[in-house]
């Protein structure tokens, strides 16, 4: 018999601390599969954020740096400028990237820093216990929007991929989902494209992955995937928002 699926080398065998059904596990694995397929495990350096995935450094079998909340793109800039021949990626949640770290991600894209960002958007703050995120949907209940997000006092969900796609230094910005096997396959393709464009030196690349947080949404993992596809996708449409075909750096 031939093995058609097994654990990628770029993942350690550690059991993760993530909740049952949390899509971090899927996304970690996709990144690891891509790194394996591109054959770059020994020249990749990852940056883990503050958030549920702070411990990503235990799960990726790579050189890793843990970064302050929101600052991963700055840390990645430091790493890539020192080692321009290496592959560098950040892995960030929506609090990290779209709240405290908005300046850092915008300016990394503006400077065309040649690293890849995996942006895990689950419309809530997971690790700290379910507070509202900038990406939380209108009327979505959270610990800091207990009556549901009210646009009058708490604004509207922010679409980072569309915003970053307006930046010239960005070579590839895409939004994907992982709510069924077909979307998972598409997500992997986008992640692979992002890393390939990094290797080609085209500029900043980012894949926003719509994700679930069953625990803080108050759903079972299956229900959470359903909520993602029915409620999140209309607000965060999937697709490639920017692709630099020609030119770039």
């Amino acid at each position: 018999m031939m093995t058609v699926f097994e654990r990628p080398k770029s993942l350690t065998s550690a059991k993760t601390h993530y909740c049952p059904g949390c899509t971090h596990g899927i996304i970690h694995r996709l990144v690891a599969e891509v790194i394996d397929e591109l054959g770059v495990r020994e020249k990749t350096i990852g940056v883990s954020p503050v958030g549920c995935s702070v411990l990503a450094y235990n799960y990726f079998n790579l050189d890793m740096q843990q970064a302050a909340h929101g600052r991963a793109p700055a840390v990645a800039t430091g790493i890539k400028r020192v080692h321009p021949d290496k592959v560098v990626f950040t892995y960030q949640g929506d609090g990290d990237l779209a709240s405290i770290g908005t300046a850092e991600i915008i300016h990394a894209a503006t400077r065309g820093e040649k690293f890849t960002t995996i942006f895990v958007n689950n419309a809530i703050y997971g690790m700290t216990g379910g507070q509202m995120a900038p990406t939380t949907l209108l009327e979505q209940v959270s610990q800091t929007s207990p009556q549901g997000r009210d646009p009058l006092t708490q604004g509207y969900p922010i679409r980072m991929s569309e915003m970053l796609a307006t930046i010239d230094g960005a070579a590839f910005i895409a939004r994907v989902s992982v709510h069924n096997p077909q979307e998972v396959a598409k997500a992997k393709k986008a992640i692979k494209k992002a890393f390939e464009l990094q290797l080609a030196g085209k500029g900043f690349t980012m894949v926003e992955v719509l994700s679930t947080c069953p625990t803080n949404w108050g759903f079972t993992p299956k229900e959470a995937l359903k909520w993602l596809s029915e409620k999140m996708i209309p607000v965060y449409p999937l697709g490639v928002k920017k692709l630099l075909e020609e030119g770039g750096f």
């Binding site: 018999m1 031939m2 058609v4 993760t16 059904g21 069924n180 096997p181």
Partner: protein, 80 residues
């Protein structure tokens, strides 16, 4: 060798694999694993088509998927 093999003690009982299986052969076991979850199992191995959807959806790398090679050595399955 099994076509689809579950490393029971990694499973958190999230059921995403069971939901994704097009042949509906994944069930959640009665017993609890060492972490206290009902692990996913496949009893009807012969019905597995090695599509890998379960492994694709599994957040915990619980599942290894294999397929029987055809006589002419060609794979029956497209890449994941």
């Amino acid at each position: 060798m099994l076509k689809v093999e579950f490393e029971e003690d990694r499973c958190k009982g999230c059921e995403l694999c069971a939901d994704a299986c097009p042949k509906h052969i994944i069930i959640m076991a009665e017993h609890l694993n060492s972490m206290g979850f009902h692990p996913a199992v496949v009893l009807e191995q012969e019905k597995c088509i090695s599509c890998g959807f379960c492994a694709r959806m599994c957040p915990d790398v619980v599942i290894t998927v294999r397929k029987e090679e055809k006589a002419n050595g060609q794979s029956a399955l497209e890449g994941k």
